[in-house]
Structure formats: C-alpha cells, structure tokens
C-alpha cells in the first residue's frame, strides 16, 4: 500500500468523526443566511453526546428487528465509509471499492430502518418510510445512471478508478460530465433528505420523511441513527466531490481541494434550503425522472463521442 493510500485510509477512519460536522455546518450557514445566529457547527456533536448519556426506550411489543436496526444502519454506513475513496485513495479494508456495492449497502440500511418502523407499528414512522421508499424507487435509478456516467471515462465501476478518471480539465469538455454532475446533485438532495425533497428541520410528524422512522428511538439508538444520517452526508458529498468536481494535484493538493469543495457544497445546500421551499411530495418523482432523462442524454452524448 502506498503512503497516499495509507493516509487516505486514515482520513476514511477520521470521517467517522468528521461526518457530523457536515450537517452542522449546513445548519449554521443556513441560520446565518436567514438572519439568525443559529447553533455552532459543532451542535451535532453536542446532540450525540447528550443522546449517548440517555437510556434507550423500546415501544411496547417490539422485537429484535427494532432493537437491531440502529446498529445495522450504522454498520452499513461504516462499511460505506470504507468503500468511498478520499482524495483518490483508500485504505486496504478488503471491502473493494465498487459503486454498486455502495448502492446495495445504502439499500440494506433503508430496509433495516423501515422494517423497524413496521415493528413499532407507528403510523408516523410508516408514513415517512412509505414516502422515503417511493423516492428511493426513482432515486435508485438516478443513482446508478449518474454512477454509470461517472464510470464511462474509466470503463470501470471501481470508485478509485472513477475518481482518477474525473481528474484534469479535459473531462469538462464532454457534455456527459455536466449531465452527470447535474444528475448527481439531485441524488445528493434525495439521499441527504434536504430541501426541496425533504425538510430535515421539521417538527411536524405529518410532513416527516427521513425523520419519521426515527421518531420512536431514543438514547444511544437515536445517536447511531443521527450519526448514520451525518455519514450519509459524507458518503454522497465526498462522492460528488471526487467523481464530478475538480481535483487538486498530488495527495496534499487533493485533500486541500476536497476540503474546499465539501465546504462549498455545504454552502450550496444551505443556500438551496434558504431560497427553496419543500416540493409537493408527489412532484418529486417527476423531478427525478427529468434528471434520469438528462443522465441518459449524457450517456448518449458520451457514447456518440461528443467532446470525448
């Protein structure tokens, strides 16, 4: 293993700790943009510490499925962190770096939390779960199409090779790359549950999507789930930066540019949440469908050799 890969491996482990900073930053920037002082970017850490000290509560009549869901979700996201390369490198964790395996892990996490919603039989949890899975039906198609577009230059679904193929400026001459970036932007919104797809700040049960299935959890269970939501931000934002946005030169340069890109993406998400209201739920699939068409057009343009 090269020194750069070892360093990238260290960063992948560090991501476990860094991930909550991403939603924290978004919340802070959003508050400032709205003219409020808002919480510090470290607020998610405080929330996690508070939850860690509290005891968990099970709803009456639940089974092991309910109790196992938070650790399973967190384990899926931990494995996903090992699969996603950082700054074009990755430690040798033995889990491979396949884009489609990553999609499978995210699906397993989704299954676990929705099964837990059924176990608690909570109407609000299931309402959110049903909506989230409805988005996922279209979101999954968009995700693989965006990944296919990113895989085209590398001719491989290996995330490390895909990240390397996205380096340099030549790639920006291809319309396919722009289509891919556009499609993946929507994937980020769907996977992180940000406006206009979902409102992460809602406290009204009837409007909850991602938050709904978390309603019954407390204590360390909830801490795992909130950490997993933050890790999901890390996975899709780092993927977006690595596969679709400019890279720096050399390992240090790449880490520097990645840090700046992540900060810029957080800013963009916060700005988007400030200017954009939540969409009607039933409109979201049309938006995703449109992005799928854009992605297919991008694939067509690449195969036809436009700008390649």
């Amino acid at each position: 293993m090269t020194a750069a890969n070892a360093a990238a491996g260290v960063l992948q482990v560090a991501a476990v700790g860094i991930a909550p900073l991403l939603p924290g930053t978004i919340q802070t920037v959003k508050a400032r943009l709205q003219g409020r002082r808002g919480p510090s970017p470290l607020q998610p850490y405080r929330a996690l510490r508070r939850l860690w000290g509290k005891s968990a509560v099970d709803p009456e009549g639940t089974t092991a499925v309910y109790r196992l869901a938070p650790p399973v979700v967190a384990a899926c996201l931990l494995s996903a962190l090992a699969i996603v390369p950082v700054a074009g490198g990755a430690g040798g964790w033995g889990l491979g770096h396949d884009a489609l395996v990553l999609a499978g892990l995210l699906a397993l996490a989704r299954f676990a939390i929705v099964a837990a919603s059924w176990d608690s039989a909570s109407g609000f949890a299931l309402m959110g779960a049903a909506r989230e899975l409805m988005f996922a039906v279209f979101g999954e198609a968009l995700l693989v199409l965006a990944l296919l577009l990113a895989a085209l230059p590398a001719q491989s679904t290996d995330l490390v090779a895909m990240a390397d193929a996205a380096a340099g400026t030549a790639i920006w001459a291809a319309p396919a790359h722009w289509c891919a970036a556009l499609a993946f932007a929507l994937v980020i919104l769907v996977e992180t549950g940000r406006q206009p797809v979902d409102n992460p700040d809602t406290h009204l049960e009837l409007t909850m999507i991602h938050e709904g299935p978390l309603l019954e959890y407390a204590g360390r269970d909830l801490a795992y789930l909130q950490w997993a939501a933050a890790a999901r931000h890390w996975v899709v934002l780092v993927l977006g930066a690595e596969l679709f946005l400019p890279h720096g030169d050399g390992f240090a340069g790449r880490v520097g540019v990645l840090t700046l890109t992540l900060a810029a993406l957080c800013l963009l998400l916060a700005a988007g949440e400030t200017v954009q209201a939540k969409m009607r739920i039933l409109r979201v699939p049309s938006l995703i469908g449109l992005a799928c068409v854009v992605a297919l057009a991008g694939a067509g343009s690449w195969i036809a050799g436009v700008g390649v």
């Binding site: 968990a56 033995g94 889990l95 770096h97 099964a115 059924w118 039989a121 360390r220 699939p285």
Partner: protein, 652 residues
C-alpha cells in the same frame, strides 16, 4: 454403464417407487423420503457432470428415437432442482399428510419431479415434448386433486389453456429444428437461412416465454401458482419456470447458430417489461402467494436481462463479458429458485398457522413462529436484493453486465444497456419496497387477526426444510465467487475465458464484491455497536400517536403503505375504486369501499382478444341457420365455385 448413469437411473427409479409408495395407504412419509433421496441422487449426478465438464449418456440428436443424457448445462439445472426439491420434500413430509388428498398429491409430486428432470435430460424431440407436456399437466392434476372450488377450476383452466396455446411455439421451434437436423448442431440452422432462424427464434420466445411467465404472456402464472399446495407452488415458481428458461437457453444460445442482434435487444426489452411489470403488480397484491407469483415474473425478467446482455456481448465479440452475463443469468436462476421455494414454503407454513394468506390478517408472527419467521425474513431480504445475501450477488453481476454493455459499442446497444441498468435499479428498489412491506405486515407489529394472535410454530420437518434453504441463501451470498467460474464455462465459448477462483466476485472493470469480507465486516461492526450500546433501557412505552391510545384500526395496511407509489404511478397502475353508500330514510347506514388494481395486460391485451374471438364466433354462428335450404344453397355455391375454378384453369 458408468457410475454417473447408474446414480441417475437409481435416482429416477427411487422417484418412481416413491410415486407408487405415496399412492399406497400409510406409506406417505416414507415415500416422500424416498422421493427426496431419488431427486438428490439425480442432483448429485448433475453436479458431477457440471463440475467435471464431461457429458454423460446420449448426445443431442435430431432423430425421433428416445435418448437420455446429461451435459453440464442440464447438470446445472438438475443440481438446482435437487437443491430446492429436497428441502421442499422434507417440508412436504409434515405438510402433505395434514392437507387435502394427501396420497394423490404425494404421488403427483414425484411425477412432477420426474417430468421436470425428463425435460432436462431429454436428448431428442420426442422425449423433450412428452416431458414438457407432462410437466404442464401434472401440477394441474395435483391442484384439482387438492382443491375443488370453482375459482380454482377456472384458474387451472386458464393455466392449461394459455400454456398449451403458447406451448405450440415450443413444438414449432423444436420440430423445425429437428426437420433441419439442427438439434445439437448450430451450423445446420445457419445453412437453412435467416427466415427459418427467425421463425425458430420467435416460436421459442413465445413457447418457452409463456411457460416462463414473460410479460405479456404471464397472465396464467399469478392465477395458477398460488392455488397449488405449498410445496408444489414452490416447485412451480422455483423450478418449472426455470425449466422453461432452460429450453430458451438451449435453443437461443446453442442451436440457433449466430444469433441476430435484434434477438438480444428483444430479450433485454422483454426483461425490462417483465422485471418492472412483475414487481409493480406484486406490490399491489393482497394475497401473499399471489404476490410471490408476480414476483417470480420480476425475477424471470432479471434473468432475461442477463441473457440479453450476454447475446449482445457475444455479438460484439466480448467473450469475457458474454460469459459473465450468462453466468449472472444462471446464478440468478439458482438464487431465485432457492429463495422463491423458501418463500412459498414459508407462505404454506403461515397459511397453516393463520388459516389465511391475506396480508392484512397476519402480523406479529416473528414472535409466535420464530424459526419460520427468521427463514422468511432471510428469504425476503434475499429476494429484495440486499447484501450480503444471494439475491444481491446475482443482481450485482447483472447490473455490472448492463453497465459494461453501456460502456461501449454501437449507440443503440449502449443506450439499451443504460436503460436496462436504470430499470433493474428501479426494480431492485421496488422489490425492497414490496418485501419490506410483506415482512412488516406478516412478521412484525401487532397481530392483525385473532388467528394470527393464536398462531403456533410449524412442525419440525417444515422448519428444517425452510431453514436449510435460508442457510443456502446466506452461503451463496457470501461465497458467490466459487460458483461463478463453472457457470461462466457453460456460456458458448465460455470455457476459454480467464476467471480466477475467488470467494468473492473480483472481476475486471469493477470495484469487486467480496461477499465474505463484506458479511464479516457487517456482522463484526453490528456486534461491536450492539456491545457499545450497552443494555441500559427504560421500561417499554406505548408508541407515540400524538397522545391518542393505540387501537387496531390505526394499524397501517398494505394498501396504505403503497399509496404514495400508487398515486405517482396512477397512469400505469390504473387503480379502480368503488364506493357504495347504503341510505335508509335519509341517513347513511353502511358504507362499502373496495379498491383493486386490475392487471394491465388483461385490460389491454387479453380482454380485447377474448372479445374479438367471441365476436368472430358469433359471426360464424350466423352461417348455421338450421334451415335445410340454406345448407343446400351452400352446397350449390360450393359446386358452382369449384366449376368456375376448373373452367378458368385455376385447379390445373
């Protein structure tokens, strides 16, 4: 006679004796055990041929004289048949004696297995077609022996009628091949010209496609599969449609010669239609076994995606990916057979325990039937394509094949690959939605009926069959790399592709899927997180409902959970709702609400066809007036017409 032939023949003989024994009074359990031994021996013979790569017995012949033999492809299917049939027969030991008409069902089970094996080992047209027809008729007989109500008779009629009309395609394809002496000889058909090749390809698609349940020829499948006894439903959905795919693979990949490109695109298109159509209509089913039957259509679609991709890769000269895509299809055939048999057996056990298959009348069964429930959960997760179970391994391979189809080649082919990729991803997400709903409604939450609250665990033999299959789902998901090279070698020209032996799937052009490492990582991380969490828990509390008390009416239903998707896909699913309010003296006394989603293929395709057929029949009836003078006029017209033809010299 070699040891292999002896093993296979002993197996067949044991099945035959098992059939007779089951029909005798008080020998049913022993006979079912003997049948399991027989099919296991056949499977051992098949696996030996698959692993050694040397065919045993007769070779394929275009003559009509009967011949039997096993080559590696037959061997693979025989092995899958045995792997699924043995647990199903173990299950049947406890299931059949307590059910209706046990002796007839027990004997017909062996006959069905013999017919399935017969299709697989047939080396000539006569044996193949005879076994093929038996394979269709025996389950129909078993269903009619076990159930006698009118609805079931109608379902069986639809099954027999559709598979026979469609099955004509099988006869046309095979007899044309035999007439051109092309069975087992791809060069012969190439010499016969493109017209004959197209005829054979289309006839095979219709014939085998009807039996495999390819959309839009699938309509019989969700009617017939659910009404059979559980172990036969399992074998029908798990194996019978796979044997149809075996026939399709034989004709298209081995006997057709150089396959035209349109055939690959057609297979991909049918695959997308079947995968999406199957899972969409599975989502809106209320009956568990019907839902599983629709889901079989989805999985046949996934297999077709792999087969179509393989044809297109072969056309483009990419031997490695042609072999991988072919292996993906075969692996999915095996995987689907395993988890579908498991799910149908579990559905049978649940039906015995609860007395119904209505999804909204189960609930909370993981607590009352922990082992059946755990096996069902594993099967549901496998069919939903979740890592690290076997469904994910084959879907990952299929997704990779479609992605690599999109990487290059002509624009149209590459875009077809991209669309297929997106459709398969969507199918996987829909399957997840479908099966998390099933798991939730059946296994989790509060009991949804008094019968579900009083359910007891299934007998040991039934549990053993299901748990063995659940174990296979895990093993094949964790170690898919072990079976990949022998399966890839079955592709035409696949024995020369370089595929190393690994436990995981390490393929060029992918980031690799190390199943074992991923499973261990998930297991260790989950265990560590559970340990880290500690055991500090407050007393259980009621679920939060904005302060209301929970009542059974607040239970989330199957229809409620799929409502968002039904609203979005309203124009595709076209749900029908009926609201009936009974008024008495100005006040509403009762409100009846019913909603269902009709099968689109029936409203768009079958109903108009049936109506047109009936109208044509009515028109023909006008000729039959019953009046003697009219018939005399017909005769006169006929003679006159013939005379005119003779006079004009048209008859020579």
């Amino acid at each position: 006679m070699g040891a292999l032939a002896a093993t296979a023949l002993t197996g067949a003989a044991a099945l035959g004796v098992g059939a007779i024994g089951a029909a005798l009074p008080r020998r049913l359990c022993a006979a079912l055990t003997l049948q399991a031994v027989g099919i296991a021996l056949l499977g051992v013979a098949g696996a030996a041929v698959l692993l050694s790569g040397d065919a045993a017995g007769a070779a394929f012949t275009s003559d009509l004289a009967p011949g039997l033999g096993i080559d590696p492809l037959s061997g693979f299917f025989l092995a899958v048949l045995a792997i699924t049939a043995v647990p199903a027969l173990v299950f049947a030991r406890a299931y059949v004696p307590a059910g209706p008409a046990p002796r007839a069902v027990g004997a017909l089970t062996a006959a069905f297995l013999l017919a399935l094996a017969g299709v697989l080992v047939a080396r000539d047209v006569t044996t193949f077609l005879a076994s093929w027809e038996l394979m269709t008729l025996v389950p129909a007989a078993a269903i009619l022996a076990a159930r006698r109500d009118a609805a079931v008779r109608a379902a069986v009629f639809a099954y027999v009628a559709m598979t026979h009309v469609g099955g004509a395609g099988v006869w046309i394809a095979l007899l044309t091949l035999a007439a051109h002496r092309a069975i087992g000889d791809p060069a012969a058909l190439a010499a016969a010209g493109a017209g004959v090749q197209t005829l054979v390809a289309l006839a095979a698609l219709v014939g085998f496609g009807t039996k495999a349940g390819i959309v839009p020829l699938h309509s019989w499948l969700p009617r017939a599969h659910p009404v059979a006894p559980a172990h036969l439903s399992a074998l029908m959905s798990g194996m019978m449609i796979k044997v149809a795919l075996y026939g399709l693979i034989r004709v298209v990949f081995e006997w057709l010669g150089a396959t035209p490109r349109w055939l690959g695109v057609t297979l991909l298109t049918l695959g997308v239609l079947s995968a999406l159509g199957g899972v969409l209509w599975a989502l809106v089913q209320q009956d568990l076994k019907r839902l599983l039957a629709y889901c079989s259509i989805e999985n046949v679609g996934v297999v077709l995606l792999g087969l179509g991709a393989s044809l297109l890769f072969a056309d483009a000269g990419e031997r490695l990916w042609a072999a991988i895509a072919f292996a993906a299809a075969l692996l999915h055939i095996a995987n689907h057979a395993i988890f579908k048999v498991l799910l149908f057996l579990a559905a049978g056990a649940l039906e015995r325990a609860v007395g119904a298959l209505d999804l909204d009348r189960m609930g909370g069964l993981l607590r009352r039937m922990p082992q059946t429930g755990a096996a069902f959960l594993v099967g549901a997760m496998a069919i939903a394509g979740l890592p690290p179970l076997n469904g994910f391994a084959s879907e990952w391979l299929t997704l990779q094949s479609l992605a690599h189809l999109g990487f290059g080649g002509p624009l149209g082919i590459a875009l077809t690959g991209a669309v297929g990729l997106a459709a398969l991803a969507m199918t996987a997400a829909l399957a997840l939605l479908c099966f998390v709903k099933v798991v939730g409604l059946v296994l989790l939450g509060p009991p949804r009926s008094a019968a579900a609250a009083a359910a007891v665990e299934a007998p040991a033999a039934m549990r053993a069959g299901m748990l063995a299959l659940a174990g296979l789902c895990i093993v094949l998901g964790v170690l898919p790399g072990l079976v990949l090279p022998p399966l890839a070698a079955l592709a035409p020209g696949g024995d020369r592709v370089p595929l190393g032996h690994h436990a995981g799937l390490l393929l060029p052009g992918t980031g690799s899927f190390p199943g074992l490492a991923l499973a261990v990582a998930l297991l260790v991380l989950t265990a560590a997180l559970v340990a880290l969490r500690g055991t500090r828990r407050a007393a259980p509390q009621p679920t939060w409902l904005c302060g209301q008390r929970w009542t059974p009416q607040l239970n989330w239903t199957s229809a409620g959970f799929t409502k968002p998707l039904r609203l979005v896909l309203d124009s595709v699913l076209r749900p029908r709702r009926e609201l009936e309010v009974v008024y008495d003296r100005g006040t509403a006394q009762a409100i009846r609400y019913s909603a269902h989603v009709p099968a689109l293929a029936e409203t768009l395709l079958y109903d108009p066809t049936v109506r047109a057929g009936l109208r044509a029949a009515a028109l023909t009836r006008r000729l039959q007036t019953g009046n003697v003078r009219t018939y005399a006029a017909y005769l006169l017209a006929l003679v006159g017409g013939l005379l005119v033809l003779v006079a004009s010299g048209a008859l020579g």
